[in-house]
Amino acid sequence: MPLLDARDVHGGYGGMNILNGVDMAIEADEIGVIVGPNGAGKSTMLKAIFGLLHVNQGEILLRGEPIHNLPPNKLVQKGMGFVPQEKNVFPSLTVKENLEMGAFLKPGNVKRMLDRIYNFFPPLYDKRHQPAGELSGGQRQMVAMGRALMAEPSLLLLDEPTAGLSPLYMNEIFEQVKLVNSAGVGILMVEQNAKQALAIADRGFVLAAGQNRFTDTGAALLADPEVAKSFLGG
Amino acid sequence: MDTKRADTVATPRRFPLREVILFAAVLVAVLGVYAAMGPAYSTRMLVEAACYAILALGLTIQWGYAGQFNAGVMGFVALGGFCAMLFSFPVNPDFWESELPGELGLALFYMVAAVLVVVGATRLDRLGVPKKLRTVIAIVLGVVLYLVVVNAFRGVTDQIESRAGFIGGLGLPVGVGWIVGGALAGGVGYFIGRVCLGLRSDYLAIATLGIAEIIKAFFKNSDWLTRGTATVSPLPWPVPGPAEVGFTLARALYFSVTAVMIAVIFFLLSRAYHAPWGRMIRAIRDNEISAAAMGKDINKRRLEIFVLGCILMGIGGAALASFNSMFDPQGYLPLNHTFLVLVMVILGGPGNNLGTIFGAVAVYIIWIMSGPLALFLMELVVTFGEGAFGWEAPTNMDSRALQARVFVIGLLITLVLRYAPKGLLPEKVRHHG
């Protein structure tokens, strides 16, 4: 049974559909990457999965259980974590407090998970008593991912985790995504840096105009000349 | 490109059934009051309702057109009332024939001079004075000169109070006071608007609530200017008074004056609403960011509408004070002069002038009638309580009964916001195409 199985998802804001039938499935230990041009509905798909957007048609299953249109806090309980692209930390809370908020529904996790997060993201340990608003962009991204991991999700949704980061940090984030995945967390992320992202992807989904254009393994999509021509900039 | 045309084409003409029914209901209510309470009383009620309609129109353009919430209508009403009193009340010879006007003028001169000096001090940095030093100089000068001016005023005003009572009026035609009242209210509105309109909308509500209490406190305590709690009356009318033509006719004449005013304001407002200026105002209210992106000067437009609303409140307040023939600073209450107007606007339909007028008249009738009704109910309860349980009612039952109205107004506000957020006659927003 796939970890996440979205079938023929339609949805949008205020009666206007942005998603016009998207299919997406990843297994428990996989990294899925959504790429595509601006306005293709990549982030919208992520929001639909996390219950931030009304799904009009189709279904989304988490380990076979339908979860579409559940509120976000229910989804967190069911083992899903979401890292928004922007405003993804609590700026006036310290790094440690940010992480604790991630485990709000599972207070028992805090002690054990804090150590694991500091292991994943060593720079955070030194800054744990600093307000997250004072950190650099890359470190904030780590806080954001750490926060989402605190609830021990089985599926982590990342919305453009490398947006606005320098290439140095970008590589670091990709490395950490792999590390998190190797610890047994399924990952579904939206990325602008399509080539690098597909390079670490088990599954790749190329969206355009709210529909799947290509769906394959990351490596196969990278090798496909048509994908390369239309979506990867040559 | 003629956008106005597109506007009208887009809405099919229909029979204004809702409007007709609601206004017919008001008419029936008015006739009912006439039958029950007699023409003199009922005409008075109509005049007051008309004055309130002017206030409500002022608030509906602020809240309905532009989304600005003014929580201090009372202050602007009091300013208008004060000007009506000051300009129309007969001249006080005790004051003008003494040397006091000169002294008061001197104090005013000191005040102007002090303001100029302080403003000058804030510009000292242009002469090469360091900015920090300039600020210190300006603040110290401001404090010292303030004390000097205040003391000069205290001296003069104490003299006025002890020797002449108060400065009296100017003996000018009533209309002058109404116009100046509007202007003064607009001026205060300009000041508040300049401070608050660029900020969160909550701040405007807080600031207007504050300025209203300050204006009231000023009038209440400035015996030299307003006779304070002693009140000033009788104020002259713009039409022949009851002494000359009898209550009903005099009030009917007054009513025709206010009705003409409402008609003129209504006409001008609808013109403005459909003009590019009105469209811009609504564009700003509905989507501030895109309006700003289109290059509209948001804060200037907002200031214009806020000041315009305050002017109307000043005029309405002046008309109300003249009609009551009395200026009583303590008679200005947030409930009667702010929240009652608010209920009229949100119940009638914010942004819809016709709805606002309907709301004003309907709510005022209910308001006036609820006083006797509340007392009656209260007495019923008391008699019942005494008879059935031997319960001894508190002595100040009358004033307590009136508090029930406070509760009802509050409840009405929350209920309308929840169940009829657009009022009974909603603003008709026209869409292109």
């Binding site: 967190v76 709000f104 | 900020l199 209490e213 307590r400 508090q403 107004i409 509050g410 916001l417 957020p421």
Partner: protein, 334 residues
């Protein structure tokens, strides 16, 4: 030296008293602002309601304080806090929550809270009447006179029993709030929600719980402030509009959404008020001989008369809105 005592009595103590009241009120307003993003105009009446509950309870159990050696009102205050917190939560359920669910603009919430303010005012005055009443039903208000050990000082420093309670309770409330916000899970979640409500929801924080907790705290604090104010003077049912302006000014001065800023703002406003109505000519008396005559001759050198006290918070509000709308500590909610 007598002038110094006069200054202590009329400025230091009086300023701390009103500063404490404003601070507690402003903390509630600022917490509500940071969680629900609107200016809660019914706060003054929530304070009155808390004091009224104490009045009712003290009238019912006038002897409650004797066992502890404190006024009955103080013993019954926790109960009144619970009642006020309940009131706050149920008002939210009945009136604010439906508006929030409709996704209205914050300013509509403000109007709603004005409606609530009128309802509370009407109810309280219906039952309490409009005149002032003492909360010292069966107890005696102690007044402490501390003579200063200096030569030539005749006047004592005067401080009353409720003022002492006020200072102690304010301190306790601020420390308690600090611990709650920084140590407890719910307190941190509250700060998180104030920082970023969407992310708080995405983290699994139940925003309804946080809203309820906010009302409980704000209501409890309002009961404290209202009761202590009424203990110091008398219980007056119609204070609310005069409390609102200084409290909002304090919250904005401190930076909206910033609890410690609100405390500081409360004392800024409180002291500004007392300094403004203080008659400075008293302080000039010792230097009579070396000052120009026109300055010493005037008997009244107060900046504003007590009847215009309300001008002071308004002036502060205008200055802060013009000069630095985010407040001195840079508020989070702008």
């Amino acid at each position: 030296m007598n002038e110094l005592v006069f200054f202590i009595n009329n400025v230091v103590i009086a300023g701390s008293v009103s500063g404490s009241i404003y601070a507690i009120g402003a903390v509630g307003v600022t917490l509500i602002f940071s969680i629900m993003r609107f200016a809660h105009f019914a706060h003054g009446d929530m304070m009155t309601f808390g004091a009224f509950m104490v009045l009712l309870l003290t009238t019912a159990f006038p002897g409650a304080g004797a066992a502890f050696g404190v006024p009955a009102a103080l013993v019954l205050l926790p109960l009144a806090m619970v009642l006020t917190a309940l009131l706050a939560v149920s008002i939210d359920k009945a009136f604010y929550k439906p508006l929030r669910a409709h996704g209205v603009k914050p300013i509509v919430m403000v109007i709603g809270s004005l409606g609530v303010t009128l309802m509370l005012q009407g109810l309280i005055r219906l039952f309490a009447g409009t005149s002032g009443q003492s909360l010292y039903v069966d107890d005696r208000k102690e007044i402490f006179r501390l003579a200063l050990p200096f030569e030539g000082v005749r006047a004592p420093v005067v401080i009353t029993e409720p003022q002492l309670y006020l200072f102690v309770i304010t301190l306790l409330a601020v420390v308690g709030l600090h611990l709650f916000l920084n140590r407890s899970r719910l307190g941190k979640a509250m700060r998180a929600m104030s920082d970023n409500p969407d992310l708080a929801q995405a983290s699994g924080i139940n925003t309804n719980t946080i809203v309820a907790v906010t009302w409980v705290i704000a209501g409890g604090l309002a009961a404290i402030a209202g009761t202590l104010l009424s203990l110091d003077v008398t219980f007056k049912p119609d204070l609310s509009f005069f409390l609102l302006l200084p409290i909002f000014a304090a919250a904005i001065v401190g930076g909206v959404g910033h609890p410690y800023g609100a405390v500081a703002g409360g004392f800024v406003v409180g002291f500004a008020e007392t300094l403004a109505v203080f008659n400075w000519s008293v302080m000039l008396r010792p230097f009579r001989d070396s000052l120009p005559e026109w300055l010493t001759q005037s008997g009244n050198l107060a900046f504003v008369g007590t009847e215009y006290k309300i001008v002071v918070p308004f002036f502060i509000l205008v200055v802060i809105l013009v000069w630095r709308p985010t407040g001195i500590f840079k508020g989070k909610v702008i």
